[in-house]
Homo-oligomer: 687 residues x 2
């Protein structure tokens, strides 16, 4: 083994590998295929990536592991690793660098677990009218009487049969055309035309439904894509991944800052995103092949390992390639948009936050180095404003409030909250800094939507005892043995449930402060922090051997987030001169999981009949899909992006006062007739 | 092959042969018919005969070339070949003796006499309407009331001031825009717009005439380009070079063959051409800097060489860069077109010769890897047919016979002859295989238009004595001492003169056969070949110490060429049902030099008043320039390329008979009233 390499074993998974010395444990874990939680993107601020370095000689692997084989202790680790843990060999994976052979134990709470992706495609009605359509033609052969050019003969035929006039052809497609025309299926071909303007693909013979598209939703944290057949509109596969830019900062502003602090920051972040998109493309097409299994065969002394396809019986595999993807649509917020396209995002982060460009862009995939069909365009949807991007436009074209009589309130909660209010008469939008609290981040026991995360809870108003359900287990606690729960924390959708239950049961007051009159031993002051906290799950119900609690600080975080959102809604309603909305639509992963009653109890938005609160799922992604399959949606997108009036909330009169009042659960002065009977009167009307 | 023989290939001419080992490269080059400069007469004192010995196996020729296959380095060479060149394989042709197979590259400066480039821009009237125009705008700054995107504010202003609606922006230009908008000349900028459609450049501040273009004429042998200011239409510089594809074959068919025989042949030839274009771009912009001189300074012991600019006093240098070139137009024949664009040229060489595409193409320079402005388009003019390419379209839009009442006959003589006949009613075109004889190639003493080449001649009908003029010397032989002439051979323009004079003086007959009754001792049978020949210049008038002669075979070659041309004209006139033309226009370098009376005497084309025979110079290049500076010409080009009817001559009825008759000087059966009085009656009317 080279002197600059080290051997690693990760436990309990047993995964191992050889890596260059000098890389952090987190980096190495990725190489080896071990998932360690790293919410902060290796900024050394979340403390989630705790691992234990074991000491000793491990005969089985032939390695001598030692704590001396990692880089020295760092100040940043103090905050998360206490003296006792340090004694046991605990380190932060993002701090400790590998200097020799190691056996690393990854404790349960540090294991990332496969994320439960909630960005499945919804069944929304889309009219079929994709930007790329296919046409089958048979072309006459050249003769001395008609020695016309290949392209012109093709063009004439497309004009004659399909009235496609003045067609261009992409240079890449043109290069491939002569050979394809003269394929064994001579002079018969299937031509793919983009926007009735440009030939982007020529395939020999008759090929139906050979064109695919990818509708991509680039979120600040997650990237999801729908892999669709452009003919049948069928979603072949939904693929997703973490946004690879997370390592440059969790939120939009920290990535803009990264760009400003690093000469090649923009280049790097963009390249990582492009690489990420290429990974999604690969995932998408690979889903059309049979799964593979390792096969061992013996040749004399040697054992040879090969991968072998294991097709499911009766299943047809399409075996597609990246070049079969001939169209791509992308929605994302304005900052992600600019970073992806290497457009200076600095000014999007500076008042008055002008984007570099609003309108949609059609850029050749090859210019972006996106590895789909060489001649394909990538359609990037338009931005509304600096803080309301193409993702919100995606929501708009999916939900089309501009065609509605009812006044709709659209709420898209991601790392940022984006709001649209109005109907076919008028639409206004704004954004509010909800922060990631509603998604469970930055809370003591917040975690991603992964197995072991609490997603539903009930608190008995009489006893203040809890009952809950975790992801990955159908049975609630009351129907399980404590040790079966293997609880780890609370995910985004659970957070709102917890708060609403705490409030309804009277554990916390309308102001968010813990009630003095508690009915259980779950309420306590934390010994270390002296902060009030409420135990949701006892240590024996968890896999992390600690009580899962919600702290006063957690409650405040959520109040800030929901207050920002509520203030946004209220100020927009004032702008529109209305005092109630007809429909509330909640988009985003958050919307999929949230209990609409709980959301109303929490006062995320003004009062509305419960049955008029709708979850519209990943509407941004649906918008991308709509634009992929129906080009009219692209026209609508450009129109709506310029016709929604953007309101900058923070400069609104009495924003501060409104914000303070909105922190109440629910808003103190506003009426919530639809909560009568749901929330006990004495709780709802407390002052 | 005998052991005492070696095989040689000279590049770029491609000439080859087998010679005895032991002879010098200079000696061998004469045998093979390659002109290498040797001013000192091989005395090893002028250093002009520098050549490069290439290393490697040349599959096409089946030879293994090596520097070990020449005699050892000689002291005399030190003076002329520096260490760096020696490293690269350079030798003096008079010193290095052949000891084995060789591939020898003759650099431009060693080729006998630097070629006189005759592709200077002609003063043709062009209406100013370039595809790329510049607009100066001042854009409002973004505010909270109008936080509109940068691009939209720019677009609004361009729409308001210049009625440029629905502008797009190239992705590359978009990336650069935000910084340029916020340059110290804040929010004021000069925008370059392509075809009123797409912004391709944003420069900060007011910049007038900052955009340049390059109009390129890619000939089979030579590539020439006009470097123009797009605002003033001024030709800043004319640059030219040998077509780098010459090494793959001298004519179009051999290059098509090279593609068919080599998997990566097309790729290679295209890449060489692109590299060549990039060299022209460099040459063009470098012409805008002061010349540089080497400067030696001493630092202690060391002599340091640096290059220093030596500006001419009072001269303003533009100091342009490739990115200042924002538009490029290209004309070339169909095969060169296809090879440049990597479009399979196989079918252009196969009956019925359909091109891959006729219509003009706008391809991003970056897609072609042409290093001008990143966002610029390259406009490739349309092809008429397999053998009549965009170069002919260039001639057409420069001369615009489609706007003329008179019936014009356009003749473009390059390596191929291209003909267009007609007026605004109708136009037909064809091509004929003239071969390179009219350009002086393949004749015993044919050479390029370079110093020492005979370009004008008179033969006394009484005595058959000659008087002539060579390029590089103003005085005719009759006013010079014989040794002052330093004659080397006959160039293209001289060839026609020679033949016409030989014919008019009665040295050769109408049939092309030498007359039996000769009046001088210049007519003789060659001792070696037993071929009749006529001495144009005696050895003592030459720098090659041999008589310069014209042989019977030479006369036949020219007759074949002129016969092909004349047949083309005649068959086209028959198609048009006309028996005379109003104007004859001769394009190409050939046209620039040719004496129109002599051309008529030779019977290159049917009878026409002498004053109606016009030389139109490099009309193809002029067409490229017209398309660069006037976008209407691009529309005309596409229209005319589809509305000129192409006639395949070789399939015409009685082509063979016509061809045989057309070999006569001039055509036997046709009347040439305009030659009466110019050619003696007994010569003109001989049977």
């Amino acid at each position: 083994m080279a002197a600059d390499k080290a051997r690693l074993i990760f436990q309990p998974s047993g995964r191992r590998g050889e890596v260059e010395k000098g890389m952090t444990i987190i980096e190495a874990s990725r190489r080896v295929g071990v998932d360690i939680e790293a919410l902060c993107g290796e900024k050394k601020v979340c403390g989630k990536c705790k691992v234990r370095i074991e000491e000793g000689f491990y005969e089985k692997y032939g390695i001598q592991s030692s704590r001396n084989n990692v880089s020295p202790w760092m100040e940043e680790e103090e905050k998360f690793v206490n003296a006792e843990q340090r004694e046991l060999g605990y380190r932060l994976g993002c701090c400790a660098k590998i200097e020799g052979d190691l056996l690393i134990f990854v404790p349960e709470e540090s294991r990332a677990g496969k994320q439960v992706v909630s960005k499945a495609a919804r069944d929304i009605p889309i009219d079929w009218n994709p930007a790329v359509k296919e046409y089958y033609v048979e072309v006459i052969e050249p003769t001395f009487e008609h020695p016309t050019g290949d392209f012109e003969r093709l063009q004439d035929e497309l004009n004659r049969q399909f009235a496609l006039r003045d067609l261009n052809i992409d240079y890449w497609a043109l290069m491939k055309m002569p050979a394809r025309l003269r394929d064994k299926r001579r002079w018969a071909m299937t031509v793919s035309v983009w926007m009735d303007k440009e030939i982007i693909r020529v395939l020999p013979g008759k090929r139906e439904g050979a064109n695919y598209g990818l509708a991509v939703d680039i979120g600040t944290t997650t990237v999801a894509a729908y892999f669709c057949n452009l003919k049948t509109m069928e979603v072949i596969e939904t693929v997703s991944m973490m946004n690879p830019q997370c390592k440059y900062g969790e939120d939009v502003m920290s990535r803009i800052t990264y760009h400003m602090m690093n000469e090649d920051g923009l280049e790097r972040m963009s390249n990582d995103m492009i690489e990420g998109l290429n990974t999604l493309v690969k995932q998408a097409v690979e889903s059309t092949y049979p799964p593979k299994k390792k096969k061992k065969t013996k040749e004399g002394e040697q054992v040879i390992e090969t991968w072998e396809e294991v097709p499911e019986e009766g299943k047809i595999y399409l075996r597609l390639e990246p070049r079969d993807i001939v169209d791509m649509t992308i929605v994302c917020n304005t900052a992600m948009h600019h970073i992806l396209l290497k457009l200076d995002p600095e000014f999007v982060g500076l008042a008055p936050f002008p984007p570099v460009i609003h309108r949609s862009l059609d850029i050749k995939a090859r210019d972006l180095k996106i590895k789909i069909n060489d001649s394909a365009y990538v359609h990037v949807l338009p931005n509304e404003a600096g803080f309301v991007g193409a993702d919100n436009v995606g929501v708009l074209i999916a939900e089309a409030p501009y065609k509605s009589d009812e006044i709709q309130l659209l709420i898209d909660i991601g790392t940022n909250g984006e709001l649209v209010l109005g109907n076919k008469e008028k639409l206004i939008s704004s954004s509010c800094a909800t922060g990631p609290a509603l998604e469970g981040a930055q809370l003591a026991y917040g975690m991603r939507a992964a197995p072991g995360a609490i997603e539903r809870i009930k608190i008995n108003p009489e006893t203040h005892e809890t009952d809950y359900k975790v992801i990955g287990r159908d049975a609630w606690l009351s129907f399980s043995k404590p040790e079966e729960m293997k609880t780890k924390g609370i995910c985004g959708s659970g957070i709102l449930d917890v708060l609403a239950e705490l409030y309804t049961a009277g554990v916390i007051m309308k102001s968010g402060v813990f009630n003095k009159t508690q009915k259980s031993n779950r309420f306590r002051l934390n010994a270390d922090t002296k902060q009030p906290e409420f135990v949701i799950a006892w240590a024996n119900e968890t896999s992390i051997e600690r009580d899962v609690v919600i702290t006063q600080k957690d409650v405040r975080q959520i109040q800030l987030a929901k207050g920002a959102l509520y203030t946004g809604c209220k100020l927009m309603m004032r702008k529109m001169n209305i005092d109630k909305v007809d429909v509330v639509k909640i988009a985003g992963a958050f919307g999929t999981h949230v209990d609409r009653t709980k959301a109303l109890i929490m006062g995320l938005f003004p009062d509305c009949p419960i049955e008029k609160i709708l979850s519209v799922g990943n509407a941004a992604g649906d918008g991308a899909r709509a634009a992929l399959l129906n080009r009219e949606k692209r026209v609508e997108a450009n129109w709506v992006s310029r016709n929604v009036e953007y309101i900058e909330l923070t400069v609104e009169k009495d924003f501060q006062v409104q914000f303070m009042e909105s922190m109440q659960i629910p808003h103190m002065k506003d009426a919530f007739p639809h909560l009568e009977g749901i929330v006990p009167a004495e709780v709802l009307h407390q002052k």
